[in-house]
Point group: C2
Chain length 371, copies 2
């Protein structure tokens, strides 16, 4: 039994569940399970690696549709190589990061470790290369996490028959996305993981649905992980849910190289264990609270740098933290829904549970009307 | 056509809409319209005035049920008269308030104005007197906004056949309320107006519903103002919605002496125009953003004092601001839902709209299952 909205019909999927994930294995599993897996491209500094990941998607989704998420600022931020951007980072910031990692017992990288250059996907040139690569595959949707994509990118996608989605944390962003020609607006509440605004999902979703007046379909994001929450946002007029953090504890994620320490930390965490801070990228993003985020909130911590410098500053720290596999020291975007993650579970089981809970929720609502 | 949940059956009301309001006229109108009007008692420093307000409720609700909201800390805070508590307020804080009011052009009170002593309802002794007065009338529910009420108060209410509700901003609060003998838990998300936590409604409600496992009914609060949001929280397992800010623009509120300047400011405001701050009471509370809240966020602003001192500090300021009737300078608890308030509307019209939107939302959800 499917859950149908106009948007599931448009994309030919069984359930209005859109799964944003950095893991190709998770994205593919969601698509196979009847949702739309959306692979986050931002971590692929090398276009060839993204090309390989999308070839995996093409081959492991049983012909079902999938999407790609890029981070393409409409306003071009500072461009440059990691080396010359690095010169803009104050020495005191570097010293703070170095001292905190030592204090937290995070070992240096081994001599043979490749030093990551930081997330360059936030650079316009890199995001553009992600779009070019994606269009050589068969995504049905390209989503953009930071503002409306530039007009030429929208035209490029539309020429290829690919829809464009964009995240909005406020009504005015949603309206400007529609003006720019975006096909799907993702109304993302402040309880979401990663880059996020301050207005909560329950307020933002009906606001944006009303403001767009049905001209463009709306997905709801932020704080959604179960079928009752999917029912809630559909009741508020969304045509589906965009879920991210929900998939961080998928079995497929750790099997695909995702951190088991991070999964252990998420399973332990309550909904109060996140913090919205600029330390990940330079823009406000909600992260799992850990000794790492605590250190940046201490009185002696410097202010985070603007995007893209902050991520360059902390990129080696992120690598060291990932390698150390300490659940108490994690640097991970995560939404408040993590309080409901209570185990490492295969994607198909989670999807089945969401569908079951959704049907129960609809039953509860029908009962209130005596149906 | 009613909207029925076990809780509406228990209280004998037509709609699962619980309206918290400082206005007796609004509370009575909600009860007459088929919801449960809940009168906020905290502003009544004088028990006799609360007694009069509840006599009004008895006489103006067509025999329908209503509730009373008190603010009774389980842990007794600093007690004392306004005079001796006032000695604990630093002079620099008083000077800051005085300077800000002058800068914002808020005139002093006239010589004949009674100087309000501040909100003493946060003192245990005053809240206890509110409960004593309430039990001389016919409320069906006494709600408490700060923690579980003390055991003797719960026993006192239960002896009188009155149910006790308590607000919870986190799962552990909900569990401790149930352990204390509370009859209804109000799961309040961080997008709510007034005292509030940080976990959003869409995350908190199913978390608390799950944690309580049906042992005690849950109401949802925070960001709820329309019928689609009522549907959302019922889908998530709540048995009704607790709405506060929604009623601040009721026609009955300004007719009952509520500030028209405040209503004008709320109608203008977007969902981004609130701020969570300790300046109102000493505990974090979400307020309408205004020149007054901006002043407290400036670099030269002092840190707010603890409860109950902060409210004593600003109580005359609140009176001056209210008297000045300037929509740009407002000191008002308000949730993010204010972005959806687009006019001053009678309670009965709002209730009819909520019911209509609710039915449409349920229809939308049924359609997804092909019903």
């Amino acid at each position: 039994m499917t859950i149908r909205t106009p948007l599931t019909e448009k994309f030919g999927i069984d359930y209005p569940v859109f799964a944003f994930t950095p893991s190709k294995a998770v994205a593919a599993a969601v698509s196979r399970a009847g949702g739309l897996g959306v692979l986050g491209a931002v971590r692929y500094n090398d276009a060839g690696e993204l090309d390989d990941a999308l070839t995996f998607m093409d081959q492991n989704t049983d012909g079902k549709p999938y999407g790609v998420d890029v981070v393409m600022p409409n306003k071009v931020p500072t461009e440059g190589t990691p080396e010359n951007l690095g010169e803009l980072i104050p020495e005191a910031h570097r010293a703070f990061v170095s001292r905190v990692l030592d204090d937290l017992g995070v070992p240096p990288l081994g001599n043979d470790a490749a030093h990551d250059a930081g997330v360059l996907g936030w650079l316009h040139s890199v995001a553009q290369s992600h779009v070019d690569v994606a269009l050589r595959h068969r995504p049905v949707l390209i989503a953009n996490a930071l503002g409306s994509p530039p007009p030429d990118v929208i035209a490029q996608a539309h020429d290829a028959g690919v829809k464009i989605a964009a995240l909005a944390g406020a009504v005015r962003h949603a309206v400007s996305h529609v003006d720019a020609g975006v096909d799907v607006v993702i109304a993302q509440g402040g309880e979401a993981g990663g880059h996020t605004g301050e207005v909560a999902t329950v307020v933002l979703v009906p606001e944006i649905v009303r403001a767009l007046g049905g001209s463009v379909p709306v997905l709801a994001a932020g704080g959604i992980g179960d079928g009752t929450q999917l029912a809630a946002v559909i009741g508020m007029g969304a045509q589906g849910a965009w879920m991210g953090s929900r998939w961080l504890t998928a079995t497929e994620y750790s099997d695909d190289g995702g951190s088991r320490a991070m999964q252990a930390a998420l399973v332990e965490a309550s909904s109060q264990d996140t913090v919205r801070t600029r330390i990940y990228s330079g823009k406000p993003a909600r992260l799992l609270k850990s000794k790492w985020t605590d250190a940046w909130q201490a009185d002696d911590a410097p202010s985070p740098l603007p995007m893209p410098l902050q991520n360059l500053l902390v990129s080696e720290a992120h690598q060291r933290i990932a390698a150390a596999q300490d659940p108490a020291v994690v640097a991970m975007p995560a939404g408040q829904i993590i309080g409901s993650l209570d185990g490492v579970v295969p994607v198909a089981d989670t999807m089945a549970q969401i569908v079951r809970e959704y049907r129960e929720a609809v039953g509860r609502m029908r009962a209130t009307l005596g149906d």
